[in-house]
């Protein structure tokens, strides 16, 4: 991939609901292997922005380009076919199927065997499914019904499912929401490792600033639908506008805390 075409390029993304601008003129880009955090207080437009990237919502104006291809107006499943894996804020899995079957569904879809009525699904890419589960540390849970899993395990399963189509880009909406601190760190380390190994770009939104500042290569900050800051963690941390926004919420980033968590 040349340096000239970024993995993801967002230009002037705008969406309004009944006269209220949810997202206004947001532009940013993401390189392969880069981990980019999208942060902002509640109601900043993170979710709207995310939904426009993954095809659940159509922007009023602006463009999203994935590897140079415009994705505006494409459905989530078409965007997935372009090589985008995603996880949800509230996990969405196939609850009555086992952990392995969840991954196998994604593999079946990836290999375009969805309408095959004859083959044996339980044996479908069993090895590959196992490898993906091992990768996220879920190898021992393969035969468990998904509905029995703890929340943190569901998040890891979602990651395995998201990796099934050998994605170039991962979209993760609050990947650590609802998890214990220890689990958060583990999951994000895992994500970061996989992203670097496979040179996958990761865009994630997150409330937990510890997670953000530890793992993001770069951070963009939204407030009231507008991009107010962009840069490395250090740059963003020092940005007075960002501090003002977060002071309002009482969520100032604490450097000592970060060091404590990473030790």
């Amino acid at each position: 991939m040349s340096v000239a075409t970024p993995l993801l390029a967002v230009e002037g993304l705008t969406k309004s609901y009944g006269g209220i601008h949810a997202v206004r003129g947001v532009s940013f880009s993401l390189r392969a292997g880069e981990i980019l955090a999208l942060i902002g207080p509640n109601g900043a437009g993170k979710s709207t922005c995310f939904d426009m990237l993954n095809g659940q919502n159509r922007p009023d104006s602006g463009h999203v380009r994935l590897l140079g291809e415009a994705t505006t107006g494409k459905k989530p499943r078409e965007i997935w076919r372009l090589g985008v894996g995603r996880t949800f804020q509230i996990t969405a899995t196939f609850a009555t199927m086992t952990v392995r079957e969840n991954v196998q569904v994604a593999l079946i879809s990836h290999e375009k065997q969805l309408f095959s009525l004859w083959g044996s699904a339980p044996n479908f890419d069993r090895g590959e499914a196992g490898r993906l589960l091992e990768l996220v540390g879920m190898g021992g849970y393969a035969d468990r019904p998904c509905g029995e899993l703890a929340y943190g395990d569901l998040k890891r399963l979602e990651l395995a499912v998201a990796l099934a189509n050998e994605p170039k880009l991962l979209l993760m909406d609050e990947p650590t929401a609802g998890m214990a601190p220890r689990e958060r760190v583990d999951l994000m380390r895992l994500t970061a490792r996989i992203a670097r190994e496979k040179s996958i770009g990761v865009l994630f939104t997150e409330h937990d600033m510890d997670v953000v500042f530890e793992h993001a290569d770069r951070i963009i900050v939204l407030n009231r639908g507008t991009l107010i800051a962009e840069g490395s963690p250090a740059e963003v941390r020092g940005n007075p506008q960002v501090q003002a926004v977060y002071l309002g919420e009482g969520l100032v980033y604490d450097a000592r805390h970060r060091e404590g968590a990473s030790s």
């Binding site: 196939f94 569904v105 994604a106 879809s109 095959s116 019904p145 099934a164």
Partner: protein, 629 residues
């Protein structure tokens, strides 16, 4: 002009009682998510009790007091039903409650005949509302005027109840988000009971108020229940205003439809419902259903293909079944063929309902289309039997392709109702288009050719086809397509996020299920030597639902077991007693209470419990490896 005004007013009068019953159903569904099939039965009991009371007590007080007392009495019955039966099954799989209320309906139909006798009863006219009012030379019954006023009054009272009382606020909250109300610490039990009582009261009142207009008889429930479902769905589930508007719409359609299309008024209503659902998938005033937070069936055992031993057992069962002609007589063989055909029918619905999560309320349409396909080919084209059997189901396939395309755009109860509407349209065509279909006199003389004519040969044919179909569908369940279908059932959001076109997967499943049902219908035509509109009627669709639910909707083989048990029991009871509905209904209610997971579901649970109990260490992580091939 006066004529049209009066016609309009007449429509409004019919709308009033329809609204009463429909609003009750809508409230109950909104809060408890129960599709109360017994709603028509409560309407009927209301009419019967009101008949008795108004005959017994004379005068205006006797009449109006009787009507209200009857509704209250039935509401009390409703409370008992809710506490004794429904409370036990709120947590059962979706639609299982339908099975329970269906059982109740069957029982009530026989019970009213036992209590009130078989004759149609004609009650008193309402005191003070016996005559008619002259309107520019047209007569309007004064009772109609009373009903026209009553409708909006009841709407107003309900509105006040929901807007101005704490109870109403809770009900509205529960309608929008059940889990939230539970989280708020509201006593859900009593909220549900009271809602059910109010809904039943409205149904019974609607029935009681029919006394001056209608005859009271034991088939009233079925006459109203379908229409009420239509009203509730057009209006939007859980919306009282929607129920009112839809009741008016449906009644005016009937009133004016007979002037313009006198012969198809019955289809008109279903056509309108289909159009409304296609254009507004949640009805006129409904809101999109909030995604349930509770994932359905968390306790489900993971599905797995049969182990080698289980396959041998299934094969052994098939061989035993194939040996039936060696020791059974012609009647047993014909019954065996019929059961086999119903297994095909049930597994086809099971595929759609259990694997795809799409509960069709009109699956008989495709069964019947398969049968009519055979009838047309055999009688009009004179094709040989084997060709008819192969091509006949294609009519079911085509019907499923067309209707399924629209139906899978919806989900849940709306999907169920749209499939019901389509089935009713097909049924009405078969019933009323006498010149082509023979109407309810059917098409006769479709007997099997010589090679399949003897009961044992036909039995082997039916058994063989059934085995093939069952195996094929089972293979499909564990095929990549089957996984994709289950995925769309569990989470459309996640399916789309892994590149699955959920609608197309579901449409394909619908066509597969419809075609399979058509195969059953084709065989059925030859078994009976004739086809009738019955073969695509509502009661057959309900039979299919009952078979799947009885067997266990969360299991892979529930369809097979449910069909065998239900059909065998049904045939035996009809042969043994005139009160088969009472006994069958009682049996179904019992099953619902004792085996809330269906027969196979319960067996699996027992087996699992035993497995868990015996080797304490080897339980969770070391589950037996699936032996698939």
């Amino acid at each position: 002009m006066a004529f049209y005004v009066v016609q309009f007013l007449t429509g409004l009068a019919s709308a009033a009682s329809l609204f009463l019953v429909a609003s009750g159903l809508s409230i109950i569904f909104g809060v408890t998510r129960i599709v109360n099939f017994a709603h028509g039965a409560f309407y009927m009991i209301g009419a019967y009790i009101a008949f008795t009371l108004t005959e017994r007590f004379s005068g205006a007080f006797g009449f109006w007091g009787g009507v209200v007392m009857a509704a209250l009495a039935v509401a009390l019955i409703g409370v008992i039903v809710e506490m004794v039966l429904l409370r036990r099954i709120y947590h059962a799989p979706e639609l299982f409650q339908l099975l329970g209320t269906f059982g109740l309906t069957l029982m009530v139909e026989d019970l009213v005949v036992l209590i009130w006798g078989p004759d149609d009863l004609v009650g008193r006219r309402a005191p003070g509302f016996k005559g008619a009012v002259d309107f520019f030379g047209q007569n309007i019954p004064s009772y109609d005027l009373f009903l026209i006023v009553l409708g909006p009054v009841v709407l107003g009272i309900l509105w006040l109840l929901f807007q101005r009382t704490r109870w109403g606020v809770l009900v509205r909250a529960a309608t929008q988000d059940r889990d939230m109300v539970a989280a708020l610490g509201v006593n859900q039990k009593w909220l549900f009971t009271s809602v059910f009582a109010v809904g039943v009261f409205l149904a019974a009142l609607g029935g009681a108020l029919q006394i001056p207009r209608d005859a009271v008889h034991h088939a009233m429930d079925l006459r109203i229940i379908v229409e009420v479902f239509v009203v509730v769905v057009i209006g939007g589930l859980g919306s009282i205003v929607g129920a009112f508007v839809a009741a008016v719409l449906v009644s005016e359609l009937n009133a004016f439809g007979i002037l313009i299309f006198p012969k198809i008024s019955i289809i008109l209503v279903f056509l309108v419902m289909a159009v409304v659902l296609i254009v507004r998938p949640w009805g006129l005033f409904g809101k999109p259903e909030a995604a349930a937070r509770k994932t359905p069936g968390l306790t489900v055992n993971p599905w797995r293909p049969l182990t080698s031993n289980e396959r041998l057992a299934a094969l052994a069962a098939l061989i035993v079944a194939a040996m039936l002609p060696l020791f059974a007589g012609n009647y047993a063989l014909t019954v065996g063929s019929e059961i086999a055909i119903f297994v095909i029918f049930a597994v086809s619905l099971h595929f759609l309902m259990s694997v795809g999560g799409l509960a069709s309320f009109g699956h008989a349409a495709y069964f019947g289309l398969g049968a009519y396909g055979v009838a047309f080919l055999a009688k009009m084209a004179g094709l040989p039997m084997i060709v008819c059997l192969l091509l006949g189901p294609l009519l079911g396939c085509m019907g499923a392709a067309v209707f399924g395309f629209f139906a899978v755009q919806l989900s849940g109860v709306y999907f169920a109702m749209l499939t019901l509407a389509f089935a009713q349209i097909v049924w009405s065509i078969a019933f009323q288009w006498v010149s082509v279909t023979g109407g309810d006199n059917g098409i006769l003389g479709i007997w099997p050719e010589k090679w399949a004519a003897s009961p044992s040969h036909f039995y082997w044919l039916a058994l063989g086809v059934t085995a093939l179909v069952t195996i094929a569908l089972r293979v499909a369940v564990f095929s990549p397509f089957g996984y994709a279908l289950r995925a769309t059932r569990d989470s459309v959001l996640r399916s789309e996020a892994v590149g699955i076109n959920a609608k197309r997967i579901q449409w394909t499943a619908f066509v597969i299920a419809g075609t399979t049902a058509g195969i059953g219908g084709a065989l059925f035509a030859y078994l009976k030597g004739s086809v009738f509109p019955d073969n695509l009627g509502i009661s057959l669709s309900v039979d299919a639902l009952v078979m799947v639910l009885l067997g266990g909707v969360e299991t892979v083989s529930g369809g097979v077991v449910g069909a065998i048990v239900y059909k065998a029991l049904n045939i035996w009871l009809v042969s043994q007693t005139d009160l088969s509905k009472l006994v069958l209904g009682g049996f179904i209610v019992l099953i619902v209470v004792v085996l809330p997971k269906g027969i196979v579901g319960m067996l699996e649970m027992l087996a699992q419990r035993r497995r868990k109990a015996s080797p304490p260490g080897s339980s969770l992580l070391a589950k037996p490896i699936e032996s698939a091939e």
